[in-house]
């Protein structure tokens, strides 16, 4: 499938009501974002900038107050998502969990079995396939999380803080997976605070601050303005 735009967000506003008096809090204040096909897109910003909310609205986990999101693919059938600090069903084994996810996409019988075994091999968990998820390490959970996001062979992959809390080996493994997806022509958007990984992996980035995208462009464009991505990031978010 060839996408015209992998993800397009226009004028996205999100207001939530908190507390007993239902005080309105505007989380997103008109987010504009465009992710092109085969981008590895980094969505950056300080905590509370609205990165996760933007992704949740894109996936329909939250409703937009106004504005629009175009995933570039019909429905969620061609989208994969890994939430931040994911929790999975700890009473299932890795194989059972991926089988469950595959069944949600309508994969049956041999097709499901083959897909699950392929994914277990791809993320290096074939030896732990029969182990229950509550016995998995953080790195293994992150890898099974990526595997479940890939179960439908998605065109667009949204990863929320995929490297957070991982040891150096786990980070390298996740980075290899993202690079592999890019080589296969997939579009990946991920939120991250680890700018070194962003520099290494991303083709384009957007920086959010207090519910708005304040800058977006290529990594090269950012590096043309500052010596390092860290310097550029600090300049943009403190401006």
């Amino acid at each position: 499938m060839t996408l015209a735009t992998a993800l397009s967000v226009r004028g996205l506003h999100k207001t939530v009501h908190v507390g007993f008096r239902r005080r309105p809090v505007e989380i997103l204040k008109g987010v504009d974002l465009a992710v092109e096909p085969n981008d590895v897109f980094g969505l950056l910003g300080p905590n509370g900038a609205g990165k996760t909310t933007t992704v949740k609205v894109a996936l329909g986990l939250m409703r937009a107050s106004s504005g629009s999101v175009d995933l570039g693919v019909p429905g969620l059938s061609h989208v994969g998502y890994l939430p931040e600090n994911p929790y999975f069903y700890d009473y299932l084994s890795g194989r059972e969990f991926l089988g469950f996810c595959a069944r949600l996409f309508g994969l049956d019988g041999d097709a499901r079995h083959e897909r699950v075994e392929q994914l277990l091999r791809d993320v290096g968990l074939d030896d732990a396939a029969a182990t229950h998820l509550h016995k998995y390490s953080k790195g293994m959970l992150q890898r099974i999380g990526i595997a479940q996001a890939l179960v439908n062979d998605p065109e667009l992959l949204l990863l929320d803080e995929p490297m957070t809390g991982l040891d150096p080996v786990g980070r390298v493994e996740v980075k290899r997976i993202i690079e592999g997806l890019h080589e296969r022509g997939k579009t990946v958007m991920f939120n991250s605070h680890i700018l070194g990984d962003v520099h290494e992996l991303c083709t384009r980035i957007a920086i959010m601050r207090t519910g708005r995208v304040v800058w977006q462009g290529s990594v090269d464009e950012a590096l043309a303005e500052s010596a390092t991505l860290e310097d550029f990031f600090m300049k943009v978010v403190t401006a």
Binding site: R63, Y91, F100, L104, F105
Partner: protein, 254 residues
């Protein structure tokens, strides 16, 4: 449909592998077996006492499992944030509620069938025979619990899991008594209490209509056609409760 089947299988695995459930079931089996002792101190009514006590124990423990598991089913997914995984895939909220309910129905079928067969065997040993009516009484307890589970799931989409469980138990108790309350208030000739009890009678599922425990122990003749209609009513009731739960759940954000 694939999504409903997937959620159903997952819910069945989740609930059947729960160690708390296993502990409750073991305790329930011990309680049912306790009927042997009660029977031994009742003069010549050992079989009847066994049936009576066993069916009550089965109902109480079935109710505990039904409401506490049903109340936590949806909440657990939200609290542990597994809904992010589910609803970022093409799974509708309606399919989720339906799958959760059907999966729990499967677990309850295993639990109730296990307890029911255990009771049947004990009655056979004690009385030398056991009628099929005893097994039908167990099936009717299962039907009542299905309605209570659906209502509990509905409550769990509105408030906390504990509140949903408490309300589920209240519905079960009220469902056993509502027709008696209605009959009593009609005798009192007070229009206000009569209207109130009529409203409760209509809103709360009439569970006593399919309660055939008395028939199973030989105290009552059973009108099967009428019981069949009441079973259909309870099934329609639970469909409405689940549809309402789905409508409320569709409005939730995560």
């Amino acid at each position: 449909m694939n999504q409903v089947v997937a959620v159903t299988i997952n819910t069945f695995k989740e609930t059947i592998r729960d160690r708390v459930l296993a502990v409750i079931v073991v305790f329930a089996l011990l309680m049912i077996a306790g009927g042997l002792w009660l029977g031994s101190i009742s003069l010549g009514e050992q079989g009847r006492m066994m049936k009576d006590f066993g069916l009550v124990a089965l109902t109480v423990f079935g109710l505990i499992v039904a409401v506490f598991v049903a109340a936590g089913l949806v909440h657990k997914e939200v609290e542990k944030r597994t809904v992010f995984i589910l609803f970022s895939k093409p799974v509708s909220r309606t399919a989720f509620i339906a799958g959760k309910f059907v999966g729990l129905c499967g677990t309850m079928a295993v639990v109730i069938a296990g307890m029911g067969l255990f009771l049947f065997v004990l009655v056979w040993i004690v009385a030398g025979q056991a009628s099929g009516t005893l097994l039908l009484a167990v099936v009717m307890i299962y039907v009542q619990l299905l309605a209570v589970m659906a209502v509990t799931i509905l409550f769990s989409t509105l408030g906390s899991a504990i509140l949903a469980a408490v309300l589920g138990i209240c519905v079960f108790v009220a469902g056993q008594l509502s027709h008696n309350v209605l009959a009593l208030t009609r005798l009192g000739k007070n229009p206000l209490t009569e209207v109130l009890s009529w409203v409760i009678y209509v809103v709360i599922p009439n569970l006593s209509a399919v309660d055939i425990k008395a028939g199973a122990v030989g105290e009552q003749t059973l009108a099967w056609a009428q019981i069949g209609l009441w079973v259909a009513y309870l099934l329609a009731y639970l469909v409405v409760a689940l549809a309402l739960a789905a409508v409320i759940f569709r409005r939730k954000e995560f």
